[in-house]
């Protein structure tokens, strides 16, 4: 296979929509603020009442119709970690999300590099085939992939969830390729002249230049993996191997549910994603504006 450098003029693509200065099309009136405040109350209200309820005993919750607890207790949060192996599940969830995200990013980055910077026979058709998979809904792989992973003996191991992520994603390849193409070619030549190997060039020269897009992808992938329900539900059985998101379902009783404990568990699961949201909400918004979903 003959490989040479691609000398195409760098395509400049700024994918996140350029933020223009804030423009107000008119001065907001009182009722407009009132509607927005109402919307915020409706959106955040359930989280607030859930937090309040998670701080009261079940007896207190059942005996009073008020939202406010008569006495505060953290016992529900203790029970979340006692009644199911929640600490273990959190470690499992982090392990899967971090490894899957890293593996997926590395795969997508090196793939995107080939499509953006190297010239080889069949590159354009291959890239077209990669792009086409963006249109293929994830439902297509659901059952076939399960039978493959089951045959490989990976069911009830974290690898059942990590390995499929390590093939990268068509969207990430496309997104990183766009950004890599805008990097001037002299970077590659300089690195090669200095005796840098191809992987060295990718990880030492190009990776720092696409930090921003990589961060967007990392955050979206981490959220998607941590919040995933169907994957862990299908592939994991043992509670000690479960992820926290699915572990929550153990709190739902057959006939009666201890709401304060269930809500405490739900809020524990929301802690990591909320921290990420508060720090990186711009990345999340920009990434979702291009990809359309967290999956």
């Amino acid at each position: 296979m003959s490989v040479e450098l691609d000398r195409r003029p760098a395509a400049v693509t700024s994918v996140p929509p350029a933020r223009r200065g804030r423009r107000t099309h008119g001065r907001a009136r009182g009722w407009e603020y009132a509607v927005l405040v109402l919307a915020v109350v409706v959106i955040l209200g359930p989280f607030v009442v859930a937090a309040l309820t998670s701080l009261r005993t079940n007896a207190d919750y059942l005996s009073s119709t008020s939202v406010l607890p008569t006495e505060l207790t953290f016992s529900n949060y203790v029970r979340v970690f006692d009644e199911i192996p929640m600490a273990r599940m959190i470690l499992n969830g982090l392990f899967i999300a971090v490894l899957g995200t890293l593996g997926g990013l590395v795969a997508s980055l090196v793939g995107a590099f080939c499509f953006a910077k190297l010239r080889f026979a069949g590159r354009e058709p291959l890239f077209g085939v990669v792009l086409f998979t963006m249109l293929v809904p994830s439902t297509v792989t659901l059952i076939p992939l399960y039978t493959i992973i089951r045959a490989a003996g990976l069911v009830d191991t974290p690898w059942a969830l990590i390995l499929p992520l390590c093939t990268g994603s068509a969207f990430a390849v496309f997104f990183l390729r766009q950004h890599l193409m805008s990097v001037p070619h002299e970077f590659y030549e300089a690195a090669v002249l200095d005796g840098c190997s191809v992987p060295g060039t990718i990880f030492r020269v190009y990776l720092p230049l696409v930090r921003g897009p990589l961060a967007i992808l990392a955050i979206l992938n981490f959220l998607a993996s941590w919040n995933d329900l169907l994957g862990p539900l299908i592939y994991l059985n043992t509670p000690e191997k479960m992820t926290p998101t699915v572990g929550l379902t153990y709190f739902r009783g057959q006939y009666t549910t201890d709401f304060p404990v269930m809500l405490a568990g739900s809020l524990v699961v929301l802690v990591p994603t909320t921290i990420i949201f508060l720090v990186f909400n711009r990345h999340i918004r920009d990434g979702l504006a291009i990809s359309g979903s967290l999956k």
Partner: protein, 300 residues
């Protein structure tokens, strides 16, 4: 592309980079495995649809029996009806409410970033955790009913067979509307203010401005929201897995596939069900790409 670099007279085309040829197969391996997995799955999944397979014995070829059975399957039609209702209710509602909130957001100066952050927050949340919040809100003796009771309005059986799907739709709209509002806000902010100024000089009312400037120039955003929204809504699973109504009242195609495949281990039948869902997804997406030229306005 080769001709492009060869027509440049200044530099001669570079010779084959010795290092790169060796690395190429390694670098492309993960992406290629992913590709093969997707395309193989498409063919293999379709083939499974023609078999009867419980994962223990060998798959038995049954021809089109699964597909014929689906057409007679009362629960499949229930799932399809429910899924279509989720699409038909949540997607337009998210567009309408999201656009309204975006217009309000574009007009406020104070607290604007707080409003945006708060409305967008549910997007980052686990569907399971959020659905549990709503299980609590919708409980017969739960918060919503105790408030309605306190107001003397009586109580609602939120998760009864008649109301469960509507209750699920409310939760889906609640969780998705902030993201849609932010997309519309970005669209609004890219409309040049001059258009509004010029039309104001011509005496256009706010109503006229909306329909002649705002709405047409937002159609690319609307199109994106509708296409991705329909694809997501057709595959609704997590919400109804947790917030499940009685007697199949919230059964969706995806939850029916899950049930047959992973609690009944009927791989052949569920692969055939998946084929139906994929056909619906591709048809819906293709139809929208086809119809977009009728209503989507692109600048320039």
């Amino acid at each position: 592309m080769a001709t492009l670099s060869q027509t440049r007279p200044v530099r001669r085309p570079r010779r084959v980079t010795p290092g790169a040829a060796k690395w190429l197969p390694v670098l492309l391996l993960p992406v290629t495995v992913g590709l093969v997995l997707v395309y193989f799955s498409a063919v293999y999944g379709l083939a499974l649809g023609f078999t009867d397979w419980n994962l223990i014995s060998d798959p038995a070829w049954v021809g089109t029996a699964n597909f014929a059975e689906i057409l007679d399957d009362e629960r499949f039609w229930t799932a399809l009806r429910n899924t279509v209702e989720i699409v038909a209710v949540t997607v337009p509602a998210k567009v309408a409410i999201g656009l309204g909130l975006a217009i309000l957001l574009s007009r406020v100066a104070r607290l604007s970033s707080f409003f945006r952050l708060a409305l967008f927050f549910p997007t980052s949340c686990s569907v399971v955790a959020v659905a549990f919040l709503w299980v609590y809100l919708y409980d017969p003796n739960g918060l919503l009913n105790s408030w309605l009771g306190a107001l003397g309005l009586g109580t609602v059986k939120w998760m009864s067979p008649d109301h469960a799907l509507t209750s699920v739709n409310v939760m889906i709209i609640w969780g998705g509307v902030g993201y849609v509002a932010l997309l519309f806000l970005a669209g609004l902010q890219s409309i040049p203010a001059e258009y509004y100024e010029a039309s104001r000089l011509d005496g256009a009312s706010a109503w006229r401005q909306f329909w002649s400037i705002t709405f047409p120039l937002l159609t690319p955003t609307t199109f994106f929201v509708v296409v991705t929204g329909i694809i997501a809504a057709l595959q609704t699973f997590g919400e109804v897995f947790i917030l499940a109504g009685p007697m199949d009242s919230t059964l969706t195609i995806m939850s029916y596939i899950y049930e047959r495949a992973f609690t009944g281990f009927e791989m052949g039948y569920s692969a055939a069900l998946s084929a139906f869902l994929i056909l619906i997804l591709l048809t819906a997406t293709g139809a929208q790409l086809w119809f977009q030229r009728k209503w989507v306005t692109y600048e320039r």
